[in-house]
């Protein structure tokens, strides 16, 4: 029980200190999990983080589950995840309540209209960064363009694009393997 509580508190601390998520989290994880608590080695953490990036869901949650399960099995995984999401629940709930109360003020509306432009640019930057890692040849470029246009122009759930692209990855690589033989 004491160990579970420790997992919860440590990951709650990591959650508070993660600003922006994803990559920003790795140095904080290293300090808390590897150096302070010795729950995993440097190599294990990098492995967990890499797998957390390419499995479904939020990277922070995936990594937390990984470290937690290594420490205390399934219960540990669940506890660490609850820890990492706990600060968000508290902070966002309070902020959301406040923002709803002030949303009618002109300056708040103007501020958010300015912020929206900034958010567009931030998403664009994220896409450009991801492009370098994900579009590695002609075929991946074709998949990117098809999904981009398909999701913009058709009213189809994004789930289908995810399923079909996974399948086409397997098929394309399979054909490539056969051609090589």
């Amino acid at each position: 029980m004491k160990e579970l509580l420790e997992l919860f508190l440590t990951f709650a601390k990591i959650g508070v200190m993660t600003f922006g998520g994803g990559m920003a989290m790795l140095p904080i994880l290293e300090r808390e999990v590897v150096q302070n608590k010795h729950w995993a080695t440097e190599e294990e953490l990098v492995d967990y983080f890499a797998i957390g990036q390419c499995t479904p869901g939020i990277i922070a949650v995936n990594t937390a589950t990984f470290v937690g399960q290594k420490r205390k099995g399934a219960m540990g995984g669940i506890t660490a995840t609850l820890g990492v999401v706990f600060p968000s629940l508290v902070i966002i709930t309070i902020l959301a309540g406040l923002i709803t109360n002030f949303a009618h003020l002109a300056w708040v509306q103007n501020a958010f209209a300015g912020i929206q432009v900034c958010v567009c640019v931030l998403i664009l930057n994220a896409v450009l960064k991801l492009l370098k890692k994900s579009v590695v040849d002609k075929r991946t470029a074709v998949i990117f363009v098809i999904v981009l246009l398909g999701n913009m122009l058709l009213s189809v759930s994004p789930v289908w694009f995810v399923l079909l692209s996974a399948l086409s990855g397997i098929v394309l690589k399979n054909l490539e393997g056969r051609a090589a033989k």
Binding site: G21, Q116, A126, V147, M152, V159
Partner: protein, 201 residues
């Protein structure tokens, strides 16, 4: 009760199919807004801005915020739990066969296709919000067609275009500023929005 079940299910799907972290949930959240009518695309933009500028992983902040908007505090909890459930299940399975997963050719091949698709989905969400914020063009699904319907409210935001270009330069090309935390740019944009009456009020 059915509202919370639906909320849980929608976020379960988001957690299961969004691959590549917080930003990858955006196209799914957009889809939830469009199919349920719980929130507009503009609401979603504001929620994303708040999620980027508060502590905690962006993806979790967004789930909490959307959940709160739909169903108050219980909604926030239900949405967040829904989004992390698939992660917990998948990671516990992967952890049990870590070596196999890491060396699996099938997994590697699937991700060869998944990565550009995930980028494409985020790119589409990005293009959608840009068109709306800067050019006043919105898209909506139609009842009897698979094609999206685009409509233009005639308002091109020149102020928005200029701000976007300036931000693009500062976040990508100027060495001194490009590694600054997003919250700096969000803060500056908020001030510019107030000073230049971006919402027109």
């Amino acid at each position: 009760m059915t509202l919370y079940l639906r909320l849980y299910w929608e976020f379960f799907k988001t957690g299961l199919f969004a691959i590549g972290g917080g930003m990858a949930t955006l196209p799914f959240l957009k889809d939830i807004g469009a199919t349920t009518g719980w929130f507009s695309q503009t609401d979603l933009m504001n929620m994303l801005a708040v999620s980027e500028s508060t502590p905690g992983p962006v993806g979790i902040n967004m789930a909490t915020y959307v959940g709160y908007t739909v169903g108050g505090v219980p909604g926030a909890i239900v949405a967040t739990i829904g989004e992390v459930t698939p992660s917990i299940i998948v990671i516990l399975i992967v952890a049990a066969m870590l070596a196999k997963f890491r060396d699996s050719q099938y997994v590697a091949n699937a991700f060869y296709g998944l990565r550009p698709a995930s980028t494409g989905l985020i790119g589409a969400a990005c293009a959608g919000v840009m068109l709306q914020v800067i050019a006043g063009i919105t898209s909506a699904s139609q009842e009897d067609s698979i094609l999206m319907k685009f409509s233009w409210d005639g308002a091109i935001s020149w102020r928005g275009i200029i701000l976007a270009l300036v931000l693009l330069v500062f976040t990508r090309y100027i060495k001194k500023t490009k590694d600054l935390h997003p919250i700096v740019f969000i803060g500056v944009s908020a001030v510019i929005g107030v000073v230049f009456h971006f919402a027109g009020v």
